[in-house]
Amino acid sequence: MEQKYCGFWGRILRVNLTTGQASVEEPDPLLYRRYMGGRSLALYYLLREVPPDTGALSPENKLILMTSVVTGIPISGQPRHTCAAISPLTGCLADSQCGGWWGAELKFAGYDGLIVEGRAEAPVYIYIEDDAVEILPAGELWGKTTGDVQDALRQEHGEKVRVLQCGPAGEKLVRFANLTDDLKHFHGRGGLGAVYGSKNLRAIAVHGSHRRIKIADPKRLQELAQWFVKGVKIGPSLSLHHELGTSKGIVPVSVQGILPTYNFQDGSFAGAEQIGGENMKKTLNGKTESCFACAESCKRSLEGESGPFQVTRQYGGPEYESIGLLGSNLGVDNIVAVAACNELCNRLGLDTISTGATISWAVECFERGLLTLEDTGGIDFKWNDPENNYCLIEMIAARKGFGDLLAEGSRAAARRIGRGSERYAMQVKGQELPNHEPRGKWGVGLGYAVSPTGGDHLQAAHDPWFTKPGKYTTEYDWVDLEDLAPVGLLDPVPAEDLSGAKVRLFVYLQYIWALHDVLDWCIFTAVPEFRALSLNQLTEIVACSTGWRTSLFELLKVGERSVTMARAFNVMRGFSAADDTLPERFFEPLRAGALKGHKIDRADFERALKLYYGMMGWDPQGRPTEARLEELGIGWVWEYQKNHVPAEA
């Protein structure tokens, strides 16, 4: 089969599990120029095809899996893909980018994306091998761990098949069940595993034979790829990330007072050195692993044991977020225990962030007397109790006993329990907050509030990077603001600040971050704070792949388009400015740690929201205006939005 276009196929596969039919669509190539892939292409289909009153677990919800115009090309940073749907956890958009291997493999099979719709009558999995698409029975896989399912599918279809699956937790419709790609890479957030489960879908296995994506300028792309490879060897940030991965952040963040500890009560953790990446490497015989064609190789593969806890290499190792939410935020200072709980989540298909945060909510409520032994079925909750956490993870995945309540997520569980327990659920729009304390970086708080997927730390770069003037030091090591100069961000802004200058910084950074989600590009290879590929180099990469005479301006508009499309999707589902909130705790002083006593100024936060809506071209209720939608070249979204939103009173 000939690839018609440089960088992409122009082919979208659609599989209907209700009818058992598969079909291929060939959209206008301009669709790829306007949306480029990932989150934007997913939203293009979600906005048009999923009615606003659709339930997240109904057959009418659609799973949209998308690659981009750079996925699968031979350079570090490109192997991710997007999965999007309505979230069972929040009711708003679920949108997640996952690294690993599956996205490139789908591209090698000759598709840019896959839309899964309907519901199978009995458990199934989808098998794709180039033009052959089969819906096959999965009754014998149902109930098995992710590792067992991967082994079974590789035995059936060969060792080279790439598997994107939910776990037993997804089958049980746990609201924060995740998806795993090759057991070590995840669509962690938003409960996409439960959407799989609701469709009786256990896995999508892919193998493709078109292993070289046609691109416009392979010679220049190779030069850029080699520049990056050299950076991994000699660049301070890139080489550190290669050595320790995201786990490198635990100790520094604790010293700075912004490591969530004891359910966000404190900002520094006495056990930070024990659970930090440096100790994890020593304790757990750490090795590095890679995603497809990436020289950064920042993933961990660990093994070891301590007391009752064992860790194997099969499921990788915990990232920064998992270490925080299963470690410091639960008061756990044993890295082997943290890694074992992480592995159990991966085996059962649970998001480690929401799992840890929901248990943290229960521990604090129990400590405050808001939960009783009668509520918990006799389970005694306390901090630094990893054995208990391990049991609870199994109970959540199986929806057993008190685990059935926790499986609904912290917001729903708190609403069920009442007694004021809601104030200890650290979530936004129903999604539990990740491992970043916003009282020391207020822009992260703004990001939590306005994120279209609920509490999320990947809306923009974090404030501390931009508090000092930019200073170029070496080719691979520019500091702070230097890399943002091409978009006109020149002035440092304090971390604890929500002035107009901070909101402007946030808005521009959000465009840049959204662009990464659209291109399915890994932030660890190309965003300013990692001092890797520059924005101008990323622009060149898109041009090398597609042959388009593109520009940074065009790419930033693609990012902005994605943010506003996501907002429109949520507005159509009834979300408004009233949902852009933070837990009350963040307006109260931190109890302990390096930033003890620090809090977010509520008036500054509320003013920042208004400024943000204004800068985005949204109305005071946070709804995209017709004018901004037209300016972004997506006037068609207004036709959908205006019919589903009451006029402003």
């Binding site: 100790v251 010293v255 977020e321 970043h436 090591d477």
Partner: protein, 78 residues
């Protein structure tokens, strides 16, 4: 005055060759945390925070004798 410093983030590259993440040596009495960073060769812009004996302190803090020191860069998770 002899000190031992644990280095985190990109400051790890200023470790002694045989002790990854650790530097130890003599510094002039009265040195601050920033003076220490400069002695190691670390750019001031790169030093985000420092701790002395487990307590995070301002970077212009004078280092007391026999202190256990940590210096960190801005590092995010993700």
């Amino acid at each position: 005055m002899h000190v031992t410093v644990k280095l985190y983030g990109t400051l790890r590259r200023f470790s002694l060759p045989d002790t990854p993440g650790i530097w130890s040596g003599e510094i002039p009495p009265g040195s601050t945390l920033l003076d220490l960073a400069a002695l190691l060769g670390a750019p001031a812009e790169e030093v985000a925070a420092g701790a002395v004996n487990g307590e995070t302190l301002a970077l212009d803090t004078t280092i007391p004798p026999n202190a256990k020191i940590m210096l960190v860069t801005h590092v995010n998770g993700g």
